[in-house]
């Protein structure tokens, strides 16, 4: 059993620059921020290191940080320019019973994160969902297609804060 | 006196008499199917701690008629890409196959459709039409589930015909007859003359035969159960995987045709099993008609016993259906080829040995 601080030290030593630092965190969770392209490597290390053995990815959640500049259009709708999206990984070890939170922040315009689907198979569908809902592209993912929305949905990513409903879907008016 | 002779004495015309003679099973099958559907609902309901149909008539006894009414009113849907000719012929062919079996079933000493010497073999032969009808339905529906169901069903029926036939051959060795009518007539006077108790064989052979007759009875009951696609062998129409098997695409009267065929078949195999092993139309205790010296009563009593035995086995089929889960298709085939057929062959050899000695 290790505390998040100890794990942070280990990671910092091992990966250096790729481990950015403790993300600002409140309420019960200590998130370690990792560079987007290093996450798979960190994941392999966390899973396979004999002291850590983080074999279980509990949850992979993506969110729109809503940090960009709010631009209001003439019709009252708004969108965010710039800003970031982030992905949060809750991982734990079923044998050592310690858990940590990893966080990856990517700019909205070029949201690309290394996939961890080969580290934890669980991430396969969760990453597809994150892609579907928030629009983060996971590199080297085995099957990066939409999962919950229709495969041909082209009105954007619903869980982004500036998502607008399309007027028509396949010729039907929305909302009908 | 046979009913056929009675018709001839009235009409003096063989053709009319034969025609009337041949539609008598219809007069039995249709009411039986109505009753069996009701029975199935009630049996399942009471086994499952519920009441079943209660609204249409007292205790829902008119439910089957309501079902028929519903089926009659249904739109007859033919899928757009179905093979229309095959799709339409298939239910008829299946029903014809089932109905043809009734030709050699002795309902009572006064009625058998056609007193064929090869009755038992004839039953095996005409079931080929049922297989063809099922394959036709599966192919004609142009639906993968239907085709799957049809192919499984055909494979199942063809496989389970083998243990059935082996048991039938065992019976032939003992009785030296394939005629179901003779078979039934000979198992008379009391229930220890029934084939399951060694039949009307004399001496120590009879005692020696009893265990092997029991084995034969169990094998033929299991394999006929499989031939009519009832649980635990209802894989062809396993609703949890293949929706409804080969009759997925059917609706209305064509579906009713399959339904009727299924229930007719259930009764037919029960009747065959009871005719072979349990004395057919014979009473287990002797006849009221002979005690009261009323000869006309005997055939009616016989019909009562025949129907009772048939319905009892239909009830057992329902009982099994609402109790047991379903086998998987490979387990079903393994059961047939690895257990039933070897046991039936060994049983056949032992019976042959007993009869030779």
């Amino acid at each position: 059993m290790k505390t998040p601080q100890e794990i942070f030290e280990i990671l910092k030593q091992k990966f250096g620059e790729s481990v950015i630092g403790f993300a600002d965190n409140k309420l019960l969770e200590f998130a370690i921020e990792i560079a987007p392209l290093a996450i798979a490597e960190v994941g392999y290390f966390l899973r396979d290191d004999s002291e850590l053995l983080f074999d279980n990815l509990i949850l992979l959640s993506a969110l729109d940080d809503m940090t960009g500049k709010k631009v209001t259009e003439e019709d009252g709708s708004f969108r965010f320019e710039g800003g970031t999206l982030s992905v949060i990984y809750h991982i734990e070890s079923t044998s050592s019973r310690h858990k940590i939170v990893l966080k990856v922040v990517v700019p909205k315009e070029n949201a690309e994160i290394e996939s961890v689907a080969y580290v934890w198979n669980h991430a396969n569908w969760e990453e597809r969902e994150a892609f579907d809902m928030i629009g983060i592209k996971f590199l080297n993912h085995p099957n990066m297609i939409r999962i919950l929305m229709p495969y041909n949905w082209d009105a954007g990513y619903p869980l982004r804060k500036d998502y607008k409903n399309p007027e028509f879907y396949e010729g039907m008016k929305v909302p009908y | 006196m046979m009913i056929y002779d009675f018709f001839i004495s009235i009409f003096h015309n063989e053709l009319i008499a034969a025609f009337l003679n041949s539609i008598i099973p219809v007069a039995f099958i249709v009411p039986f199917a109505l009753f069996a559907v009701y029975l199935e609902r009630k049996v399942s309901a009471h086994m499952q701690d519920r009441l079943g149909p209660m609204r249409v008539g007292a205790h829902g006894w008119l439910q089957s008629f309501a079902d028929i009414l519903k089926l009659l009113q249904k739109e007859d849907i033919v899928a757009a890409k179905a093979d229309k000719k095959l799709f339409n012929i298939a239910p008829v062919l299946t029903f014809v196959g089932c109905y043809a079996v009734f030709a050699v079933i002795p309902f009572s000493s006064a009625y058998i459709g056609a007193n064929l010497d090869l009755g038992l073999l004839y039953i095996v032969a005409v079931s080929g039409f049922v297989v063809a009808g099922i394959l036709m339905a599966g192919w004609g529906s142009n639906n993968k589930y239907s085709l799957f169901g049809a192919v499984r069903s055909a494979a199942q029926i063809v496989s389970y015909e083998i243990p059935t036939t082996l048991v039938i051959i065992t019976i032939i060795i003992v009785t030296k007859s394939l005629n179901l009518y003779d078979l039934s007539v000979n198992q008379t006077s009391n229930m220890f003359n029934w084939m399951i108790f060694g039949g009307y064989v004399e001496g120590w052979h009879k005692i020696a035969l009893i265990p092997f007759m029991f084995i034969g009875f169990i094998i033929i009951y299991i394999s006929t159960l499989a031939e009519v696609n009832r649980t635990p062998f209802d894989i062809p129409e396993a609703e949890s995987e293949l929706v409804a098997g080969y009759h997925t695409e059917y609706s209305g009267m064509k579906f009713a045709m399959f339904f009727l065929a299924e229930y007719a078949n259930m009764f037919a195999v029960s009747a065959i099993v009871s005719a072979i092993f349990l004395g057919g139309f014979q009473s287990p205790f002797g006849y009221l008609g002979s005690t009261l010296n009323l000869p006309w009563l005997i055939p009616i009593e016989q019909f009562f016993w025949f129907a009772s035995k048939g319905i009892f086995f239909v009830f057992v089929q329902m009982w099994l259906r609402w109790t047991l889960p379903r086998l998987r298709v490979d387990q079903l085939m393994a059961m047939c080829w690895k257990y039933l057929i070897p046991i039936a062959v060994v049983n056949l050899l032992i019976v042959a040995l007993i009869m030779v000695l």
């Binding site: - | 090869l118 073999l121 032969a125 079931s127 080929g128 394959l135 599966g138 055909a154």
Partner: protein, 163 residues
Amino acid sequence: MTYYTFAFYAFAAIILLSAYAVVTSKNVIYSAFSLMLTFFGVAGFYALLGADFIAIVQLIVYVGGILTLMLFGVMLTNKITETEIKTGVFQVLPASIIIGMFSGVLIASISNNRWTVAEKLNNPQNSLVGIGSILMNEYILIFELLGVLLLIALIGAASIARK
């Protein structure tokens, strides 16, 4: 016209029409099902001739066995529902020459034969006993040899299927 002749012509019509359909149908499945009717008609002929055992064996073997096998073959080897199973007319000239020769031979042999009608059997009902005793007495060797042959075929089929 007696019922017997009526039945004969009815079966003959079934055989001819269904056989024609077998040959001409473009759809293999239709051919197979027409073949079933042909077998049925032939079985009817046997029954009319008093050979009830042969009639029933005809149904068991051809309708129950061979036809089912053919249907299985057609249904399982094609990619289901996506391609139509059709046959076409090929090699018309060689075929018609061969057919012409064969029909010439057949017509010649039929017209040159002296046809005799066999005496009506006394009891055509009990053909089974007769067949059984003949097979088990006079032709026992051939019968057993046939059994061995079929066993070899069965083993061969099983060993090929295992590969």
